[in-house]
Symmetry: C2
Subunit: 187 residues, 2 copies
DNA sequence: TAAATAGCTAAACAATCGTTTAGCTATGAT
DNA sequence: ATCATAGCTAAACGATTGTTTAGCTATTTA
């Protein structure tokens, strides 16, 4: 043993995540990462391998936040009301710390959708796409809904969620609340 | 006078637009532009000044498409039904030529939202934000709606439109149709 | 206290970025 | 036919990209 690190990886990766969240992957440089993470390039490379590695670790960090929300969502048992709460929680997560950059996962999906980045794709598909199934589960708790209605409403809610994420960037809290209430008015 | 150009600027800029649409600005290189536009770097610079100029001209080209749709929307006079048709037209525009990259203006807004690019910001604000007013105008055609209802519904429709644009990237035509019908069920 | 070693600093790396330029080609005008 | 000129080709520009490395610093261990 010799010197010990002057930083904690869990802390600097949070800072990296916020930078990627604001700028996206392609528009974030190693110079910016150095400044934002508060450590030298050498330290970044020794801890995370390369820029790509920093990004993947940032995604994991973000997904941990999302996972907490998902767990809460799954563990509740109030049907549609849970979905509505999930919408409100999503807004809180997208807006934390004054951030107004929507959802990092959605942004990443958009930025990498044309590329064939295996690692990023893997990280993405593990989260995108199962949202609809979660909604379907919750909607099934209402015995008065038939299967066709459930499918249509689930699909509707997935796309409504997209609108919501986009909304967190430019709309006021009141407008967002109005949107959510309106969305669930006839569900 | 001497030689005449071997390309038409209106044609090569369309090709540039499609590339920017697919990749975004930052992730598009001059090399890619050369290949996609089918002309040399020199020709690109002599026609459009620089990469930034190519992008601004591409935005104008895209906005021309959108403008056509907006004009149709404004000139009709069937209230809410016009808005619904506008949603369907939006999907057609976002998906033309097998493209699945959402709306170029929305994407550009997202990519440049953290930067302070005066020219791009100008091009953006001239289109974003007035959508709500257009919706309000149409909703006013229904005398049974009071002002508060109109405001809420207009806000809801703006965000629903965001969901729709995101939807064109990953959802089937049937799912998108379901979403639109559901959105207008209680408007 | 001294040797060993892991972390840090800062300079340099090759590759690619957007951009410019020198020289060649082709065409309109005299 | 020839001169002038605008367009094209392709090489090179400096700056910045992500990445590596040599040399110094500080701390643990014996």
């Amino acid at each position: 043993m010799a010197r010990q690190k002057e930083y904690k990886e869990e802390e600097v990766i949070k800072k990296a995540m916020r930078l990627f969240w604001r700028n996206g992957y392609g528009n974030t440089s190693m110079q910016q990462l150095e400044k934002e993470m508060g450590i030298n390039k050498f330290s970044i490379y020794s801890s995370f391998g390369n820029k790509h590695g920093v990004f993947l670790e940032s995604l994991k960090c973000y997904k941990a936040k999302v996972n907490t929300m998902f767990e809460k969502f799954k563990n509740n048992s109030n049907g549609v009301e849970d979905i509505k709460q999930f919408f409100y929680d999503s807004v809180d997560l997208c807006e934390e710390e004054g951030n107004e950059k929507g959802c990092l996962l959605t942004n990443t999906y958009n930025e990498f959708s044309e590329s064939n980045d295996a690692l990023v794709n893997e990280q993405m598909t593990s989260f995108m796409g199962n949202l609809k199934n979660l909604f379907i589960e919750k909607l099934r708790m209402d015995p008065s809904k038939d299967q066709e209605t459930i499918n249509k409403q689930a699909n509707y809610l997935v796309l409504a969620k997209h609108g919501l994420v986009a909304a967190t960037r430019v709309n006021t809290p009141k407008e967002i609340e109005d949107y959510i209430e309106m969305t669930f008015k006839n569900i």
